[in-house]
Amino acid sequence: MTFAVALSDESLIVGMALGDTDAMAAFVRRFQARVFGLALSVVGDPGLAEEVAQDAFMRAWRHAGDYDPRRARVVTWLLTITRNLAVDAIRLRRDRPVDPQRLLVALREEMDDPGYDGAEWLRAGLRELPTDQARPVVLAVAYGWTAKEIAELEGIPLGTAKTRIRRGLARLRQALGVTDG
C-alpha cells in the first residue's frame, strides 16, 4: 500500500500498529525533521541526535498500538518520546555540557516552515518570560533536570530554582488563557 500525503497522522499510527511498513515510511518522512531537530536541540551533537531520533522512531513503531488520541496530538506524543530518549542520552554522557541558552534561543525563534503546526501562542509567551524563569523551565521540561540539578547549574538556592520553575510555567500557562486546558 502507498500512502498519499492526505492521510492523517492518526491513520498512519493505526497502520503502524498493524505492522504496515509503508505507513511507517510515510510517518518517518513526515516527522523526521521535527524529531531530529528536537533531538539535536537537546543533545547538541549531530551523531548522538541521529541515534536518538532513530531510537525515537523505533519506539514509536513498537508502541504505535499504545497511542491514545485523547491524551495528546501525534506530534506531541512523538516529541515526548524523543525528549525522554534525548534526556537519557545526555545523562549517560555527563561530560557533555548542557547549554540551556542555546535551546531557549531556538525555542523562541520564529519558524519559517509553512507546514509547521507548533504552538505560536506559547512561543509568544516564552519570549515575554524573563530569561531567569524561562531557563529553569526549559531545563526541567526539555532536559528533564530536577530542581536540585537546576539550582546547582544556575548557581542559585534550591528554593529559588523551584520558585522560578513554578512562576515560569504558571506564566506560560496564562498564555494558554483558558481554564479547561
Binding site: R71, L79, D113, I165, G181
Partner: protein
C-alpha cells in the same frame, strides 16, 4: 473538609508535577488530592499541556542523508501484533472495533479523566489495567509506572461506593501484603503509592473493604 487549604498546598506542587520535577512523595500527595478535586485536575491538565507543547517549538532540522533508509532497514515487524491481527482481516476488525468504541462514548468519557490524570505524571505507564469486581463489573483503573521508585496509581469509579478500600499487592512469588488504603466518596477516589519492588514483579492488585465490593486488577 479543608479543601481550600488543600488546594492551596497542592496548587503549589502542580507546576512541579507538570514539569516532571516533583519528588515521589509530592506526586503521591498531588494525585491523592486530584481524585476529589476537578479544579486541580483541570489546572494540572493545562500546565501539562503547556509543558508538552513547549517541545513542539523546537526547530525542524533535516537529518543526515540516508536517515530514513537506515531506519527502515532496522524495522522488524512486531510479531505479536501480526499474529493477533493478520493482514486484511485485521483492518476490517479494527474498523469494527473503532466503530464500537465510537458508539460507547459514555464509557470512554467515564475513564478519560482517570487516564489523563495518570498520564499527566509525565511518565509512561508501564501497564494499565481495569479494576473489576468478581462479577466483571468495572470499578476503576490501575496504572503501574516504572522509574525510581516505581509506583502504582489507582482510580476507583463505582456508583454508590463510599468508605475505604484496603489495597493489597500480590507479587509474582505469591506473597500478598497491605500497601495502603484508598478513600472513596460519592463513587470515586484515587490514590498513589511508591513501591519497593520493581513493577514487573507485581502480579495483582486487590482492593477490599467498606467502600464496596472487592476489586482486583491482574498484571500477570
Amino acid at each position: 473538609m479543608d479543601d481550600r487549604s488543600g488546594c492551596a498546598e497542592i496548587g503549589e506542587l502542580l507546576p512541579d508535577v507538570a514539569a516532571g520535577v516533583a519528588a515521589g512523595d509530592e506526586r503521591a500527595r498531588v494525585f491523592a488530592h486530584l481524585g476529589g478535586c476537578p479544579a486541580c485536575r483541570r489546572e494540572l491538565a493545562a500546565l501539562s499541556h503547556v509543558a508538552d507543547e513547549l517541545l513542539t517549538l523546537a526547530p525542524a532540522v533535516t537529518p543526515p542523508a540516508g536517515f530514513a533508509a537506515s531506519l527502515m532497514r532496522r524495522l522488524a515487524p512486531p510479531p505479536r501484533r501480526r499474529r493477533w491481527w493478520p493482514g486484511r482481516a485485521a483492518r476490517v476488525a479494527l474498523t469494527v472495533l473503532l466503530a464500537a468504541v465510537a458508539g460507547s462514548g459514555a464509557t470512554m468519557r467515564a475513564t478519560a479523566d482517570d487516564r489523563r490524570e495518570a498520564h499527566h505524571c509525565r511518565e509512561r505507564p508501564l501497564a494499565e489495567r481495569a479494576l473489576a469486581a468478581a462479577d466483571g463489573t468495572a470499578g476503576g483503573r490501575a496504572f503501574g509506572y516504572g522509574g525510581s521508585p516505581p509506583w502504582l496509581f489507582l482510580t476507583v469509579a463505582l456508583p454508590a461506593a463510599g468508605g475505604v478500600y484496603d489495597v493489597h499487592l500480590v507479587t509474582r512469588d505469591g506473597r500478598s501484603r497491605a500497601i495502603g488504603a484508598v478513600p472513596v466518596s460519592a463513587g470515586g477516589g484515587s490514590w498513589g503509592v511508591a513501591l519497593d519492588v520493581p513493577f514487573d514483579q507485581v502480579a495483582e492488585v486487590r482492593l477490599a473493604g467498606s467502600a464496596g465490593p472487592p476489586l482486583a486488577a491482574a498484571f500477570g
